[in-house]
Amino acid sequence: MKDPGNLSREEQRKVLEAAMQAGHILLENGAEIFRVEETIDRICKYYGIESSSSFVLSNGIFTTSGSEREEIFAKVQHIPVSGTHLDRVAAVNQLSREIEEGRYTVEEVRKKLAVIRVMPGKSKFMQVLASGIGCACFCCLFGGNAKDSLAAFLVGVLLYLYVLFVSSPHLSKIVGNIGGGALVTFLCIILNVLHIGQHINFMIIGSIMPMVPGVAFTNAIRDFADGDYISGSVRMLDALLVFFCIAMGVGLVFSLFHQIMGGAML
């Protein structure tokens, strides 16, 4: 542990910025609020800033420091919600452990964080394949047979192509998820007509799983349990909105087919 109170102004700024950078990566990639706050505090305390204080919301970090001995520092970072990359969360967590063991200088920490921030995930091909396999498995889990699972695999692959190339770069969350639900239902009905899958319900249930907001839902509950009600509410609202949008997409296409086919489809 470094001596408190005798850091130069420049050093202090560097420590606080490194701490915020770590918090930024954690928050952006699906960590709980409590973990973000604790990591920022740990880094600041280790490098000898006693007066730091941070306030973390689901999409922003506010950090200040300043006392008789330490310079005043304040910074706000807005962090838009993006995808979940748990490998980055694990990497920052590991880094924070190693910092406490005294392995790095502030400069090294900042370099490491910059590397973690752009850490490559799985290739798009792998993601699409995983989505297909996941859909097939969940279709089987909820009662589908082998043919249904095959259909769910195809739909899962197409759905994730849609998510990667249309929905996440171009569409808002609401429209993207309604579109996803609609696409899944439409494809399942088509495959059913082509006799590739037999039970349309199980096919759809399996195939909507990649869109189900498991991360937002679970993190919302954990934030509530830790007493972070504002972030918990925002994340829960996010999860409910996505749930609702998927259901809307499914319902929309179903009622459309209902109209055209006079109920024969269902």
Binding site: G83, A90, E100, G121, Q127, I133, M209
Partner: protein, 153 residues
């Protein structure tokens, strides 16, 4: 036989989804194991109990396992928890609710909707209660010394 296929599907499905969430490669088997265990408990409980009870019991098992693995491996519990809990999230309930609304069977829609809500509440209760258990307890189970770091939480 069908039972084994389902467990296998839960294991592979959980692993596939953990890839989508960017879980580091070396943890896939653990995620799969947790997902499989959760579904096993859920199916066994389903013989006697109603859906929300099953979800509660399965959630408790999933979170206990996630916390154990998190301490054992020294990484954030979120990694194991999120993928492991996925098979229990009421995606199917959500679908049937939308389906019955569209087919205009509103009483069925209401009952499946409420059932999905009850399952969600059961999962919430499971998560909240198991996270209240002290960290030290898990360390003792694993026979590890007292080293307080966030990583295991």
């Amino acid at each position: 036989m069908m039972f084994l296929v389902e467990i296998g599907a839960a294991v592979v499905g959980t692993m596939a989804f953990s890839l989508l969430f960017g879980v580091p490669d070396r943890y896939y088997p653990y995620c799969g194991l947790i997902g499989g265990a959760g579904w096993l408990v859920y199916s066994l409980a389903a013989i006697r109990y109603t859906e929300p009870t099953c979800a509660l019991i399965a959630t408790i098992v999933v979170i206990l396992l996630s916390r154990l693995f998190a301490i054992e491996k020294g990484c954030p519990v979120t990694i194991f928890l999120i993928s492991g809990i996925f098979p229990l999230v009421p995606g199917a309930g959500l679908y049937w609710t939308a389906y019955y609304i569209v087919t205009n069977e509103l009483d069925m829609a209401a009952s499946t909707g409420f059932m999905a809500l009850k399952v969600a509440v059961a999962i919430v209760l499971g998560i909240v209660f198991v996270f209240e258990l002290p960290q030290g307890m898990f360390r003792i189970i694993l026979g590890k010394g007292k080293k307080k770091h966030l990583g295991g939480n």
